[in-house]
């Protein structure tokens, strides 16, 4: 079953077409890789799907519903979480607090519709039990990712590898159905990358579908069930890792045509 798919998705920035008629599909329960040379439009595709950018044309469907053009916070609440290419943690909040933010919207929202503003007021007077829930659950995810000992640290003081893990914990705290990881292995050494692979597998074991943008081919080929390849904003191939590796257009995109 397709958990997520885009249809003729197009994103233009002025004259530049960053995403060009892309039909991107994600099967439920899979680990899907999204690869392509730098500037191929992978992150832009992420941004459009998750609502941080609006598509110029095309549609995005999640769990059968049309989520095209919805604001980011609505899409997040529907069950899509993500991390960022250049690590965007809240710098003046410590690790624990960062993860708690991921947990935030899970709190009760008794007011619907236009009165929704009062929800924020409600969060103000919220119960001790809800706060405790947040602490417990956030801690749980810190432990899952294995970084609980850094809970009191400010992100800026931590090595990149750990910061990426904090971002992942924060996203997991949202208990998403679909998790987008944008270059999670960037800047990691082989040991850390192994560690990450293990973590991603464990995430999949929780019935969370994972999509990852990556440049580390070993990682991609190793854990992905399906891979989509973008080049210059267009989808040039999609299939199993083995199929992709043999695909002539993919090889050309990465290595160039033989002179």
């Amino acid at each position: 079953m397709k958990l997520l798919y885009t249809s003729c998705l197009r994103k233009e920035f002025g004259g530049l077409v960053a995403v060009n008629d892309v039909d991107f599909e994600v099967e439920v329960g899979s680990i899907t890789g999204l690869i392509g040379p730098n500037g191929a439009g992978k992150t832009t595709l992420f941004n459009v799907i998750t609502g941080l950018d609006e598509p110029t044309e095309g549609f995005v469907f999640f769990q059968g519903k049309d989520i095209t053009g919805l604001p980011a916070y609505r899409i997040a609440r529907l069950g899509i979480a993500r991390t960022f290419q250049n690590i965007r943690l809240f710098r003046e909040l410590n690790v624990f607090e960062n993860v708690m933010i991921g947990r935030h919207f899970k709190g009760t929202h008794p007011f619907k519709g236009p009165l929704g503003v009062l929800n924020a007021v409600y969060a103000l007077i919220n119960s001790r039990r809800e706060e405790r829930d947040i602490y417990e659950n956030s801690w749980k995810w810190l432990e899952f990712v294995g970084i609980e000992r850094y809970h009191a640290e400010l992100p800026g003081n931590l090595p990149y590898g750990i910061q990426r893990k904090v971002e992942i914990a924060r996203a997991l705290a949202m208990e998403p159905v679909l998790l987008f990881l944008d270059e999670p292995a960037a800047g990691m050494n082989p040991v850390e990358t192994e560690d990450l692979m293990e973590l991603i597998r464990r995430i999949r074991d929780l019935d969370i579908t994972v999509v990852l943008i990556e440049h580390d081919m070993k990682l991609v080929m190793n854990i992905c069930d399906a891979v989509t390849v973008l080049n210059y904003g267009q989808k040039i191939a999609a299939g199993t890792p083995a199929e992709i590796q043999r695909h002539p257009q993919v090889i050309e995109a990465y290595l160039g045509r033989e002179a």
Binding site: P71, E92, E97, G116, V117, A120
Partner: protein, 306 residues
């Protein structure tokens, strides 16, 4: 002497409420608001008009001041809080000027540039306040300062406050976490405006008159400076900044040097202070207050081992 001292303390108390509430908006939520004086003005005028023309009693006027200011904050915030940093500052600046202009021009309601005189002193718990009850003011207003501090504290140490800080840090990402940033910003803004309105009411009562010239852009700047000086995002810092700046601006009067020191030197020193603090210690004297979760973590681990 005591007269002057109690006046100083009352000034500090009123400004403290302004600084604490602006700290919530600017320090914690990171909204560059340059119109806090406008909410102060609205509170002051609501009380002044209400008590003179409307015959309201003090407590009702006080409450209405806060509510009206906060309602205006809500309606102004709704459209403008979608704007980024600098643009928000400009918009609030514009709004502040509009409010002042409207007050000056709506003579039928506000008596224009002459302001409203003869705001009656309040009757609190049966005691008629007035010139003789200087200490009464000091004590009564202190209660409001404590109230404001407590509310801000509760906000900051809650899920809501945490969301505000996250919004300050990175509004885009906060959206990706399922939080509708604009809603939270509007609530924070309105809440801050509420207390500014309360402060305005207290001013109207104490001064027993209100005039539009008081509530200008410079005042908004001064309140912002109190917050920045002490440390953005630090309530204690806001209090400290208030005390320092009120003392500074009244220093010539305090030391009896009014005739020697030209009026402008005061302001010039203030301007210089601003520049120097920004260059050498932009985080303010006390810096931002960080919350510690050691207790909560300990409790979680305890529950595990049980």
């Amino acid at each position: 002497m005591w007269n002057f001292l109690s006046l100083l303390v009352v000034y500090v108390e009123i400004y403290a409420i302004l600084a604490l509430s602006l700290n919530l908006i600017a320090g914690y939520t990171g909204l560059l608001s340059l119109c806090h004086a406008a909410f102060y003005a609205i509170g002051a005028y609501v009380t002044a008009v209400g008590m003179t023309a409307g015959g309201w009693n003090f407590w009702f006027a006080l409450l209405m001041s806060g509510i009206m200011a906060s309602i205006l904050g809500f309606f102004v915030g709704l459209p403008t809080l979608r704007l980024k940093g600098d643009y928000l500052a400009i918009a609030t600046l514009g709004f502040g000027e509009v409010v002042k202009n409207v007050i000056i021009n709506w003579d039928s309601l506000t008596r224009g540039p002459n302001g409203i005189n003869g705001v009656p002193a309040p009757v609190v718990f049966g005691i008629q306040f007035g010139f003789d009850t200087r200490f009464g003011y000091v004590l009564l207003y202190a209660v409001f300062v404590v109230l404001t501090y407590a509310v801000v504290w509760r906000v900051v140490h809650s899920r809501f406050g945490r969301a505000l800080e996250a919004i300050r840090e990175d509004e885009v990402v906060v959206g990706a976490m399922g939080i509708n940033a604009v809603k939270y910003k509007v609530v924070a803004f309105s809440l801050g405006a509420f207390f500014a309105g309360i402060a305005g009411s207290l001013w109207a009562i104490y001064n027993q008159s209100v005039a539009p010239q008081t509530f200008d852009f410079m005042l908004s700047v001064m309140i912002l400076c109190m917050v920045v000086l002490g440390g953005l995002g630090n309530s204690l810092g806001a209090l400290m900044g208030t005390v320092v700046l009120v003392l500074l601006s009244e220093a010539p009067r305090l030391t009896g040097l009014t005739s020697v020191v030209p009026a402008q030197f005061n302001q010039m020193f203030f301007g210089l202070l601003l520049i120097v603090v920004m260059i050498f210690r932009p985080q303010g004297v006390l810096g931002r207050k960080r919350i510690s979760y050691e207790n909560e973590v300990a409790r979680i681990l305890e529950r595990r081992s049980m």
